[in-house]
Symmetry: C2
Subunit: 744 residues, 2 copies
């Protein structure tokens, strides 16, 4: 049921991918879906018929791969990075290491031009020590480094600079789509003033040549996320791949400028890190954080020049929040300095909707929805072809994205890909029409209102803090608990913020925050890793909970091993983890969970478990948890093991809840929600604007007087929603993937 | 079938526990079982009727708890240890810590006599730093330490000295058997010269008062294994319990003598170690190893005086390898200096048989078999009472112990407990008669012969090396893989030795060793922990395998994390472990195991897996294993995960095999055996003296010309044994728990 509204739900805020050769279809669907903007996809040029139909035109440009002839002639201006050679075990006193062995030589060429002795490093990994430069030599012809005085049985590696001769996104598309002998595009490095001039000249020309374009969409700015390919794509294509790592920004020029600015010199090992590089998932070093700041500064500085040019041509500048987004940092406090008009995020999940909405300093937040109009999906499954069911796909993606859209304002939506593919799927065409109306309705609620949230704030504590709010490192990755937690949080009526350890040290826990979530495995940026070595973090948070704060710890919260202790907040959590060193230490024999009110074995009845209807499933959770004493209440434990899965602890005036892991599901989202509310000691307010069925969620827009009830499942559902008085209930029936709007 | 033999199988080498009041039974069973020795159990005094029946008499004495009135009068001569108080979170600038909170105050009394400021330490566990002595004070009356200038939110602990007022073995028996107001016995500390005098005087008197005693069995020497009890036995009885830790030997006098001898001062934290103490399972520090040496030296020195006294009285001195065995170290090269005549080990498992047999410097190796003649077993299950089946228990214990007895010479066996309990179990009486004959037969084979072993040596590499050969830390503990491995090895036709990392650094891999087994979790003494930080270990072993050696790595072999590498022998193993830091690093896509020749899914056909008949079960094994390249062959992987369970790798001229875990079973013992033989590149000799049925094992005594085939199962089994030519086979039928002797 869709309530009546005065908003025009049939038109606007929708970007449609035009397709040359399908002019009629393009215009028909633009009308049906209420599009106001038509974009050209990568490699397609819109025909005049479309361009002149009165729609805003939106064109993509990827600057760093736009100047191919110049790139071919200026190979020393191509982008670079450090690579670590695969380890070689010395057999004699002289050891030769083939630098690119194991790497994709269509992507990488060793940079012998910049003095290897200055920029490279050789390591003896058995001792962990650098080999002095006089003990090795580089041979350009053979592509090897020869190390002398090597110790037999020790492993040696070389950190070396490479130019990248094939830009990764075009490489991926080229090889995935078998583009044969089509040109390999290379990305130039704007760190060089010459490159900047060339790019600005290109952009100036391009802007002049695209008079009909209203919106220039950058894909994105200059540096792609890190993606190192292996020699054999069948067995190891992605040697290293991280959506947030700055590896691919490195060059001798950048390092020299860094040294000048920061007063100290970075080494290759600051980037290589034994082959782990600077994965966003691992707690970042201080030196690397400085380097990120340096690059962010540069990207803003030169990016601003490009955007100014766009504005001079009276066009708008949008940026795609992916691909070459490194250094753009839409969550940074400085993002506004770019002057972008819009930010576009392609989304699979609710947390990505929140990620997009979270960015300040930009007027328009636009989502690119899935499925893309491609014959197959990302895993090769059929979409717009025989065997595919794109309508069902669209519904399933939509119910995930919608949870985020209900909670946070999004300005526009759109699709990507080849529009012609939808022609044989009229039900898909109808569904997108309906979806677009649903979006416009939800947007209208946000226009002058904010959805109700519980009367306390929640902070997610990670090493990255707000810089990586509402994501970990790109799209959802199974096995990283925080993604699951974010996906749950993204649709809950909670006011969530993201804080870092540095924030805590600097200013304590922000005012209004009642619950801190710390979720992740030991050593990760999410749990915090070495950031817990600062005792001020432990002291501040311990004191804060004792005085009435609350901690929800998931996985290995506050983990940083020291003798006898693995969780720095063990005293707060009332438990710790045995990583194998406590075989001789006895474990407190806690009261085993029995059966909850719904007859679920192994689950203690509690406010938190009140909706638990089956065994808890946290996927691969943490084992070896032991409680410190009788005041830790274990609500559930691992099957067949005396290791809590879910436990609560009172600490001073505060509370904590521990989860041994997390996996997003309707049931677990509810469990997390209840845990947070319990930790905040706000159980009495639980029923306000609640929905009984865990597959459904209720959101109230108080000023508008609208209660939005969504069905997050692909089955028809019924639920009882409770109104703002916490008492009055209404029964609501929802179709599969459906929505209901109640006037309240 | 039992072959004919000229040995008298009916008499000798058997120790029977006599029981006063059951003289007739004692003498009847002594005859039936062929006992040559009758012992008094703890607390029972044999009647003259038994003593004078012509059997050797064997009496137990526990010196350190033998002088109770003196102990009560000399409380400062009781044994001591350090305890760590439970952490207290500071709320203000002054923090009081109740020292014994959480500990069993019938076991411990705080030692305020020796200056706390000299011996104790207070730690701020948030910073990891010691609190200066001027910032805390001890209050004897209140039993607290008050710390000043404490930081709110930091956790503080106190390491303090305690006297132990109740000796742990008597405490355990007292409380387990509800002995009510029977006296609490305390253990005196022979570190004091006065105590030594008192003990020697007691022993002298005792020896005079036991003219009929032929063998004095010490239980054991002076210091019990570490066992700290908690305040509430229902929830946490064993706060800390380790069979091999020297915690309970500490005293100010010992520490002063240590400092004098070693030239440096040990601190309380060397013992407390953040509450982990010095568990045998964790890689020991160098300082603690020095301290062990110091105590071993002392125990030998004073022990020798006691034994000399026994010899002066023309009695023999045996020592029980348990209880107060700390400092005795029967695997030490110095054990012979004690001058003991016999060593007695109670055994549940084959590895304990090997442990006993392994000890040099003693003439007689005696086993105490299970079940003990008690109404209930260790876990409270019925044995010699209604519902029990002691005969079946005895058979099941015997088939485990027998595997070890077949492989290594044992001189005597015996039982313990209350003989009267066997009266209602005539089948048990008959079975022990048969078992004793079986033992004597096997002993006769060892008399002038050694069982055949494969023509290469195997070394188990741990931090402890030979000092902890054939055990980890006491009886079998599930979850510590090395116990399982030892139990498998204990019955295999392999020449096994135990080496330490220090051995490897000092002298390389011993000559003749072809296979090294390194098994355990990261940080444990078994895997090696910090001992892997010496690059010589990595270099020596890597070179050794490259030149033709072999490594069998189990669990987390060679684990010591550094950036990008967790296993120091990753290059040798062809694999490493991702502990969560490699989310962004791609993993080599190895060829998945398919199906072996017996149709087992997920198991690659290979020499190693040739007897695998079902899915591999290694209990809680290690996940996150990734292979380094295509030359690592994965034979089995974890269910539903791309993480190898079993893999092989060729490295230079050598080989390696990796197991993700291990659990003793007939199938896995065979798998380990095959893996070792394959690693040694000795597949061609596999069939020599082999037995086809994995539940059976064959052992040949070449000189005696006897092939012993044992059935390790409780079911009738049939097997095909292959003789020494590797071709001729014989079919053998074995009863449940049975044995067959073939003339060959």
């Amino acid at each position: 049921m869709m309530s009546t509204t005065t908003t025009d739900l049939t038109r606007g805020d929708f970007t449609l991918p035009g397709e040359a050769g399908y002019e009629q279809l393009t215009l028909r669907l633009a009308k049906k879906w209420g599009a106001d903007t038509i974009r050209d996809s990568d490699g397609t040029q819109l025909s005049p018929e479309i361009v002149q139909a009165g729609y805003d035109i939106y064109s993509t440009v990827c600057l760093v791969r736009s100047v191919q002839p110049w790139a071919r002639e200026n190979r020393d201006k191509l982008q670079q990075n450090f690579l670590m050679s695969y380890p070689v075990v010395a057999e004699k006193a002289t050891t030769a290491i083939t630098l690119l062995k194991g790497y994709f030589t269509e992507q990488f060429v060793v940079n012998f031009k910049d003095n290897p002795k200055r920029w490279w490093q050789v390591f003896d990994r058995a001792t962990g020590k650098e080999v002095p430069a006089r003990k090795w030599s580089a041979n350009e012809k053979k592509g090897i480094v020869t190390v002398t005085d090597t110790e037999p049985g020790h492993s040696y590696t070389v950190n070396f600079l490479v130019f990248r001769i094939w830009e990764e996104i075009s490489m991926y598309n080229h090889l995935t789509n078998d583009w044969g002998d089509r040109e390999h595009l290379a990305a130039v490095d704007p760190m060089h003033p010459e490159t900047q001039q060339v790019l600005l000249a290109f952009l100036e020309k391009w802007l002049r040549e695209h008079p009909d374009t209203k919106v220039v969409r950058f894909t994105s700015m200059f540096y792609n996320f890190s993606w190192f390919w292996g020699a054999d794509r069948a067995t190891l294509r992605d040697v290293y791949s991280d959506w947030g790592d700055y590896e691919m920004t490195v060059s001798p020029r950048a390092l020299k400028l860094f040294e000048k600015r920061y007063g100290y010199r970075l080494t290759s090992e600051d980037f290589v890190n034994g082959g782990l590089y600077n994965s966003t998932h691992n707690a970042p070093s201080r030196r690397y954080r400085d380097y990120m700041e340096f690059i962010h500064d540069f990207v803003i500085e030169f990016g601003r020049k490009c955007i100014d040019l766009v504005h001079q041509h009276e066009k708008k500048a949008y940026v795609f929040y992916d691909d070459h987004w490194i250094g753009v940092e839409p969550s940074s406090g400085r993002f506004g300095e770019f002057g972008f008009d819009g930010l576009i995020k392609c989304v699979f999940n609710a947390f990505e909707v929140r990620l997009c909405a979270h960015s300040k300093g930009v007027e328009t937040h636009e989502l690119r929805l899935h499925p893309y109009l491609f014959p197959t999906g990302l895993k090769g499954e059929p979409t717009f072809k025989d065997g595919g069911n794109p309508t069902l796909d669209a519904k399933n993606f939509w119910i995930d994205a919608r949870r985020g859209i209900v909670r946070a304002p999004i300005d526009r939506i759109g699709l990507g890909g080849y529009l012609s593919l939808v022609e044989p799927f009229p039900d898909f065409q109808d569904y997108i029409e309906q979806l677009a109306k649903e979006f416009r309705l939800l947007k209208s609620f946000h226009a002058s209102d904010r959805p109700w949230t519980a009367p306390f704030k929640v902070a997610v504590l990670t090493a990255w803090g707000d810089l990586r709010a509402w994501t970990c490192s790109g799209h959802f990755t199974p096995g990283v608990e925080l993604y699951d937690v974010l996906e749950s949080l993204a649709g809950l009526p909670l006011d969530v913020q993201f804080i870092s350890f540095d924030d805590v040290v600097k200013a304590g826990v922000p005012r209004g925050v009642k619950v801190i979530v710390n979720c992740g495995r030991a050593g990760t940026a999410w749990s915090g890793g070495h950031y817990w070595s600062d005792p001020r973090v432990e002291a501040t948070l311990t004191e804060w909970v004792r005085k009435g704060g609350a901690l929800v710890g998931i996985g290995e919260p506050s983990a940083l091993s020291q003798p006898g202790r693995n969780f720095r907040l063990a005293q707060v959590l009332g438990l710790d983890r045995d990583r194998g060193e406590r075989i001789a230490n006895g474990k407190y024999n806690y009261v085993a969970p029995a059966k909850n009110a719904r007859g679920v074995e192994g689950v203690t009845e509690h406010f938190i478990t009140a909706d638990v209807a089956g065994a808890l499933d946290f996927a691969k959770d943490v084992d070896g948890i032991f409680v410190l004493g009788g005041d830790t209440q274990v609500l559930a434990e691992r099957a067949g093991e005396k290791s809590p899965k879910l436990a609560t602890h009172a600490f001073g005036k505060g509370r904590s809840v521990y989860f041994s892991g997390f996996k997003v599901s309707h049931e677990n989202t509810r469990l997390l929600h209840r845990a947070i509310v319990w930790a905040a000691a706000q159980e009495s307010g639980w029923s306000v604007w609640s929905s009984s069925n865990v597959k459904t969620e209720a959101t109230v827009f108080p000023k508008a007087g609208k209660l939005v009830v969504i069905n997050n499942a692909g089955t028809d559902e019924e639920t009882v929603v409770t109104l703002g008085d916490g008492k009055t209930t209404k029964r609501v029936k929802l179709e599969a993937h459906g929505i209901a709007i109640l006037e309240v």
